[in-house]
């Protein structure tokens, strides 16, 4: 039974073609779907749906819509305004009125004709929705940060491994040409033996590391069909409605957000783990310095193999957002979102130029990587285990920051050593009825 459920819609179509079962094809498949107008036939198409598509999600969806072998079929959102906006976008792209709208994720996940789901809700929903989606037999592209806690991170990786679904975290810089070039320099020995990796944590003035436990004042709750506030909150603790949250100003609140370290670290720490070949583990020490806000802060980390990782919000070369810097005993490289790459004097002869247009292709490259892996069943660059480990590193760093003391961590058990208080911060009870 389980095997039968795991047979994908595309595989069934391919089987039908081989069996001559597509005698009806001319009647049920539009011309564009048969390879004309640069579209792919249904057997080679990935059907996609969206869960909670806001500003960032819309940009990712644009990349999906540009792929000729992707067909977007449905949107689910707790906000009517967003459902309508995304339907309009998809319908305009395809020249029809076919995009279905849902406010209940279970109705969307029950559809058997959807291969994959783009999840771009707020962070509070990312891990539980990803797991629910995998349990429905679908693959997932999920925006970052992918989890709210260490426990969620592990549950995410375990679920995708157990269910054999494809997961791509929205950490698109792994497919950014300048970041990949910096990695290549590090991994081909041009920097010598790698010693220290530097990851930009959220700039303290924009993404402060600390989160707030405050509530905004209560406002009248809108009708459920306009905004389903209970569903918006999901697994988070209840609090009275305020329109600011729903309009996107939920970041910075402990109940909804993991703080500035995770906000940028889910990209930059993730890149460091990739470059340092430590994608399947996490640091064993976390030592915070500084308070953040208007003053610099750093979290000094060390891996079991001696490699160092520094998460910090200041002191980079001003190459854009999301800096990373890799230092070896023979040289260094630093890059960020401008696409510009700076290197130590001895590496200036290396080919480093990345065209600005290419540097901006990270998201579309990342989407393409996901679509290819949905078809090939290979692991994409930002797979569930890699995302899990990078997120655990960020969560552990934030716990050390909150406690203001050095912590020792055991990556084999996801537990802090000899620190009960820190261990109590590894998970959060979810609001009923939700669970991992």
């Amino acid at each position: 039974m389980m095997k039968k459920e795991l047979v994908s819609r595309r595989r069934l179509l391919k089987t039908a073609v081989r069996a001559g079962g597509l005698a009806l094809a001319p009647q049920i498949i539009p011309a564009s779907a048969l390879g004309r107008a640069a579209a792919a036939p249904p057997s080679d198409r990935v059907t996609l749906a969206g869960l909670g598509i806001g500003g960032r999600g819309t940009r990712v969806l644009q990349s999906f819509l540009s792929e000729p072998d992707v067909r977007f079929l449905a949107i689910c959102d707790v906000r009517n305004e967003r459902r309508e906006a995304i339907k309009s976008m998809a319908d305009q792209k395809y020249g029809n009125r076919d995009c279905a709208m849902y406010s209940d994720q279970f109705e969307l996940l029950a559809r058997k004709d959807i291969d994959a789901v783009l999840i771009a809700t707020g962070d509070r929903w990312h891990a539980p929705l990803s797991i629910l989606t995998a349990k429905s037999g679908k693959d997932v592209y999920c925006e970052k940060p992918c989890s709210m806690t260490i426990a969620e991170s592990r549950a995410l990786a375990d679920a995708f491994q157990r269910l054999a679904r494809i997961y791509q975290a929205g950490t698109q810089r792994r497919n950014g040409p300048n970041f990949a070039r910096a990695r290549e320099l590090a991994r081909t020995g041009k920097l010598g033996k790698l010693q220290t990796l530097h990851a930009e944590a959220g700039p303290g003035d924009r993404w402060p590391p600390a989160t707030s436990h405050e509530w905004l004042p209560a406002e009248p709750e809108p009708p459920k069909q306009v905004v389903d506030w209970d569903r918006w909150l999901g697994p988070s603790p209840w609090r009275p409605y305020n329109s600011q949250y729903v309009q996107g100003r939920w970041r910075g609140y402990f109940d909804f957000h993991g703080g500035g370290i995770l906000e940028w670290g889910s990209h930059t720490v993730d890149l460091c783990q990739w470059v340092g070949d430590v994608d399947e583990t996490a640091p064993v020490e976390f030592e915070p310095q500084g308070m953040g806000g208007d003053t610099p802060y750093s979290i000094y980390c060390r891996y079991a193999n001696g490699l160092r990782l520094v998460m910090r919000d200041k002191g980079f070369l001003g190459l854009g957002s999301c800096h990373i810097r890799f230092e070896g005993d023979a040289g260094w490289v630093e890059t960020a979102d401008s696409g510009k790459i700076e290197v130590s004097e001895n590496l200036r002869a290396e080919p480093l130029d990345i065209a600005p247009d290419d540097a901006r292709q990270a998201t579309s490259n990342h989407v393409r990587d996901f679509v290819d892996c949905v078809k090939s069943r290979k692991q994409p660059r930002s797979n569930a285990l890699a995302a899990c480990q990078a997120h655990i590193a960020c969560h552990a760093a934030y716990i050390a920051f909150q406690l203001g003391r050095k912590l020792t961590f055991d990556p084999a058990t996801d537990a802090f050593v000899g620190d009960s208080e820190a261990n109590r911060m590894r998970s959060r009870a979810m609001r009923e009825p939700w669970r991992l």
Binding site: S212, H213, E214, W215, L216, P217, A218, P237, W238, R239, P240, Q244, F254, S420, E421, N423, R424, M425, S427, R428, A429, M430, R431, E432, P433, W434, R435
Partner: protein, 143 residues
């Protein structure tokens, strides 16, 4: 700076969350304390509370507005008194609140709750039955 919610007696979240555990427990017992003050007290006790906080937190498990906050406070406390309190709540909580209690027992992997949870596997409320199944699945050793 957006205006923030405050409790007239206990102040802002930042003020409440710097209080020692004994004062946080007193907030939970204070009938005049707002849902906000009690919610923040529960969240702080998740990190600083010990077995002395368990009775006050457990008393909120059947409170519709605060049951989740009570579990938020209870789940991480490393003391068997929490497991005893959650097991006791199995006989009192109903509907979604019972689902929440079962979820917390599953999270804590309380082996002493195995038989009590098994009784819910065929509960008339399918959500309760599914929660019991999920909790038991968490407790089983991997194959």
């Amino acid at each position: 700076m957006m205006p923030q919610h405050v409790d007239e007696k206990y102040g802002s979240a930042a003020q409440i969350m710097t209080l020692p555990p004994a004062k946080l427990i007193a907030i939970l017992k204070d009938p005049s304390a707002s849902v906000y003050a009690k919610a923040k007290a529960c969240q702080r006790l998740a990190v600083t509370g010990d077995r002395t906080a368990v009775p006050a937190l457990a008393a909120l498990l059947s409170d519709r507005q605060l049951s989740h906050y009570a579990r938020f406070g209870l789940e991480p406390i490393p003391d068997p008194a929490v497991d005893e309190a959650l097991r006791a709540a199995l006989g009192k909580a109903k509907g979604e609140l019972l689902v929440g209690v079962i979820n917390s027992i599953g999270h804590r992997k309380d082996a002493k709750a195995l038989h009590a949870l098994a009784r819910f596997l065929h509960d008339a409320d399918s959500e309760v039955a599914k929660a019991a199944d999920a909790a038991l699945a968490r407790m089983r050793p991997p194959l």
